[in-house]
């Protein structure tokens, strides 16, 4: 009798554990191993490091976006903020490496202000965040174009680009170690702590779950909203600084990144309209999307079909999440 109970208990614990495994992590491993089979260099330490480096900007954006999503909103302005960061960086530094740190500080200040405006419009003007951040997207893109006069030019100094580009060589065991991974780990660690380890994080979940209830429980809902949009904007500036090290200065570096970041979170099990999600899931979602893109490139599919694949996986992930919630509650 007790044996049977133990057995049942053990089984339910196993089911529980299985349930807690993030589906995105599993999907990611499947995608990555497929990529590795097609192109074995991906399975070498250097290949893994390079993959993580390329995934870093999206993972950082997702780490910021998840705060807004869990609070029940959307932040559509992050892609344009990435563009503004790259273009602003080239304008502020004007090829002078000594201005890099000052420029980065100014860019973070701009990001902070944009996030604060987004949050204030949602919290105090009660404008739905889709509209508020859409307006910000248009304005920030316009501002970036105005800043460079419509034609981005110049280069970024090397010490600006090192965050995305610099690689430590001759590291034992893994051979190469990109600086981008340090930034990625730092941002993800900070975001994990902020979302799952602080009172602020609990309040973000509370507001996303039921803003009225959170308010009655004493949460200053407006401050939480300001906070999540500022976090998302600061993450976007960070991703922008990373992407500046990847390619040249152009007006479309950030194009569509907001949707990819939301997609990454959703694939990682974050629930739209708030209240549910984990940082690990969001990062796993970002890695999954990056692996998917690598896979499609390896398969030789034309570039545009990446979008088709992204759309399909997005719908599939959310449909699966909805189905699972209906099944297990």
């Amino acid at each position: 009798m007790t044996l049977a109970l133990d057995e049942a208990r053990r089984r339910s614990r196993a089911i529980d554990a299985a349930r807690r495994i993030n589906i995105a992590a599993v999907v990611f491993l499947v995608f990555y191993l497929t990529v590795g089979v097609l192109q074995p260099t991906y399975l070498e330490p250097a290949g893994v490091m390079n993959f993580l480096r390329r995934a870093a900007p999206l993972a950082i954006l997702a780490s910021g976006q998840i705060f807004v999503l869990v609070s029940g909103g959307f932040d559509l302005s992050v892609g344009s903020l990435v563009t503004l960061t790259v273009i602003g960086g080239s304008m502020l530094t004007a090829n002078d490496p000594s201005k890099t740190w000052w420029a980065i500080a100014v860019l973070y200040a701009i990001g902070f202000v944009v996030g604060l405006i987004n949050g204030a419009v949602v919290a105090y003007l009660r404008t739905p965040s889709i509209i508020a951040t859409l307006g910000a997207l248009l304005s920030v893109n316009g501002a970036a174009m105005m800043w460079c006069g419509g034609a981005p030019r110049g280069y970024l100094p090397d010490n600006f680009r090192m965050f995305g580009r610099f690689v430590f060589h001759d590291v034992p065991l893994i051979k190469i170690f990109p600086l981008a991974i340090v930034v990625l780990a730092a941002v993800c660690g900070l975001a994990y702590w902020g979302l799952h380890g602080t009172v602020f994080g609990r309040r973000v979940f509370a507001v996303g779950d039921n803003a009225r209830a959170a308010e009655l429980a004493g949460v200053q809902v407006a401050y939480v909203r300001l906070g999540v949009f500022v976090i998302s904007a600061l993450a976007a500036v960070t991703a922008g600084v990373m992407l500046a090290g990847f390619g040249g200065v152009s007006i479309d570096v950030g194009l569509g990144l907001e949707l990819q970041a939301i997609a990454a979170c959703v694939v990682g099990g974050v629930q739209l309209m708030g209240g549910r999600g984990t940082l690990v899931g969001a990062v796993a979602g970002a890695l999954t999307l990056t692996a998917l893109f690598a896979l499609l490139t390896l398969l030789g599919l034309p570039q545009p079909l990446k979008e088709t694949a992204q759309g399909t996986i997005l719908i599939a992930a959310v449909a699966f999440g909805a189905w699972r919630r209906r099944r297990v509650g």
Binding site: P128, L134, A211, E215, I315
Partner: protein, 327 residues
Amino acid sequence: MSESQALVPAPAWRRGSAAPPLLLAGSILLYVGVAFWTGQTKMLETDGVIGLLERMVALGIVALGQTFAIIAGSIDLSVANMISVAAVLASFIMHGRADMMLAAVLVVLAVSALVGVVNGAIISRLKVNPFIATLGVGLILQGLLSASFTDFAGSVPREFQAVAYGSFGVVPYSVAALFVLAALASFVLWATRFGAHLYAVGGNAEGARLAGIRTDLVTTGAHVVCSLSAGVTGLYLASRLRSGAPWIGRDGVYDLESIAVVVIGGTLLAGGRGGVWGTLAGVLLFASLDAAFNMMGVSAYPKLVLRGAIVIAAVAVYTVRTRGHVA
């Protein structure tokens, strides 16, 4: 279905806000004011006003459909991509031949309706958030389109260009069509059972379902209307540009702008309240703004910055009085 009629809400105009008249007055004041201020009084003569109305057509038609989706408590982000698909498909099938016009139009309408059904099914059957569902469908459409066509494809025959360039006297066909479609849409919303069900589902989907309304069919119907309107916009743009290219919908930002004008027009983003005349007033505001910026010689980028700020301000005017929480 008689029990469901208890749920039919009061006509929209009775519950609507004073938004459309105010917006209308504001837009006209802006346009006329800027015309006088910059001394371009020629813009107030027939040609100028017709030009202003013509600016409304593309965004106006797709925004009418978007109004249906939003009133039903949904949203459609795939319209920009649907517009590109429709325009490319039309000009590719026609390939400059007048005898293919009817076939092309029918194919475009059929494809649009199908996309609407797919959107509605993903939302109501698979229970996917409409934001993600239509975003995903939009990405799928755009990917397939851009993989098949990289540039302007085919061309439309001269006869088809009449859609955009022909006119009854001084009134272009396209402007007349916009107002006829708006009248039709408002008739459907106010006077038909489908319209009443749209408001019911948008206002309280669970309540509507318990009252015996097939909410899944209503949601799907709203998306079919929305996709069809995007298809018609695509046909119009193909006629105006004389050909279709895979980027015209996205370049026009029709997805986000159509949502913006619907909300500016007083339709609740959460659904259940609103109407098409407010949407048209919102479209007129955008058209007047564009015309005013042009008259003042504002260059492209500051225009973009101002446009973003105006979208927020115009929506905030209503929402600032909201009592509840908004995310």
